[in-house]
Amino acid sequence: MKKITYFLVLILMAVFLAVPTSYGADFSHKTIEWIIPFGVGGGSDVWARLYAPFFQKYLPGNPIVAVKNMPGGGSIVGGNHFHTRARPDGLTVFGSSGSTTFPYLLENPKVKYDFSKYKIVFASPVGGIAYINPDLGVKTVKDLKGFGKPLAYASQGATSLDIIPLLAFDMMGLNVKAVFGYKGRGPGRVAFEQGETNIDYQTSTAYIKNVRALIEMGKAVPLMSWGALDDDGNIVRDAVEPDLPCMPEAYEIVYGKKPKGPAFNAWKAFFLAGFGVQKAMWLPEKTPEDIVQAYRDAATKIITDPEFQQIVEKSLGGYPQLAGEKARKAFDQVLEVSPQDRKWLINWIETKYNVKVK
């Protein structure tokens, strides 16, 4: 008699425990709002809209996933809105990009959002490849050793993604003058073609479409890629240009030893934020585990969907997308940048470019 009761209780408990899990993560007849703090037609907007229909397909209940653009303040407005208004019910998610992460890392006082509190769903990496004007006589990274000629780089601003190339060039000992005011890498590339600047980088998709043609015409010489992340979080060569050294390698070629110290630590953290896990989807703080898991599972399924893989090849640079735990581990590296390294970077920006990192 006691054994039967015992079993019955166990079964009842199992039933009770099973039901809430599936109850919480069903989005049938719901609309999910994906906040993108950028304008229609921009890179992040395109990214989200490429993913959205697949989330509709793989989230339980097949909800509608609607992209809501909230541009402003360089993506700070959208981020703040998500932080203050999004409820932990899985119906609002946020898409961040490098320009959202940077002000956060640089402790911009206008930033209210806090990535350390949110739950990441997935992340999309991006790569960058640097190239130089052939008239300067540089054929490979080796020639940069002791290269003293002044260079000009078209920059958007000292607190933008340009921190990556500028710091990298600085670490390599190059004398690069940052010309501020360009509205993005597109105009930057045009400036390079015009001869207004002589060193530049492009993100991989732009590089493939535009810079390769320049290289073939003899108008550009590729130098290095920033790099890509391997599964253990190390920076390795970018698959888009496997013959080019990644930044840490390039450093080693020039100086004969591996890069380290506050400059490199800062660079690595910001490289991750700006490229390694440039774009990411987030759920608000206190979102229940089952909802987070539902999203992460959906993301994992999307990544393995062959139709989506084609999209990744065509429009997202072909980089392996990171879902769930992988994304979390990678982004944690961004969040773990030490306060000293962060201070070092802020100081570097302020002294070198005479810019107050407000």
């Binding site: 609607a66 501020f180 005479n354 810019v355 107050k356």
Partner: protein
């Protein structure tokens, strides 16, 4: 009257550029150059303009402030004081509209606005006013559904498409 107000505006413009100069000083070097120099030049020009206007008003010249570039604004037989009064009424109406929208949301707010204006300004019968209001509401509903356009929500949240 109009001339005097015109001068008041010119004074405000001069002060505005003065403020522009003052504010610009506090900006980082790269951000200050442009607004600083522009404000400086413009402040000087504004002062010159002010002097010209004073001279003209003292000489009692006509309020000749029209330019070939601007849209004609001949008031004919409506006295300027009336014009200003009606303008102020319009501004107040807009503020009331905004307050209404803030309370009950845009669609209902603007619909009521249309209805009230039709009834009391155009003096139509109530049913036409309501038709007009509904036309406005219908338009909003259409663009919201088809093109995902948004509107401000009020404090009191109403069901779609009223709020």
């Amino acid at each position: 009257m109009m001339r005097n107000l015109g001068i008041v505006f010119s004074v405000l413009v001069t002060l505005a550029f003065g403020y522009g100069i003052y504010e610009a000083f506090s900006y980082a070097y790269l951000a200050k150059i442009f607004p600083l120099y522009i404000s400086l030049v413009l402040c000087v020009l504004a002062v010159i303009n002010l002097i010209q206007e004073f001279r003209a008003s003292r000489k009692g010249l006509g309020a000749d402030s029209k330019t070939t570039a601007d849209l004609e604004s001949e008031w004919g037989d409506i006295p300027m004081s009336d014009v200003l009064q009606r303008f102020s009424v319009f501004v107040v109406v807009m503020i009331v509209l905004y307050a209404l929208v803030w309370l009950i949301g845009y669609p209902l707010g603007i619909t009521l606005f249309i209805i009230i204006l039709y009834r009391y300004v155009s003096r139509t019968k109530w049913h036409w006013a309501i038709v007009a209001g509904l036309a406005g509401l219908g338009f909003l509903a259409l663009v919201s559904k088809l093109l995902y356009m948004d509107w401000p929500e009020g404090i009191f949240k109403l069901p779609w498409p009223l709020g």
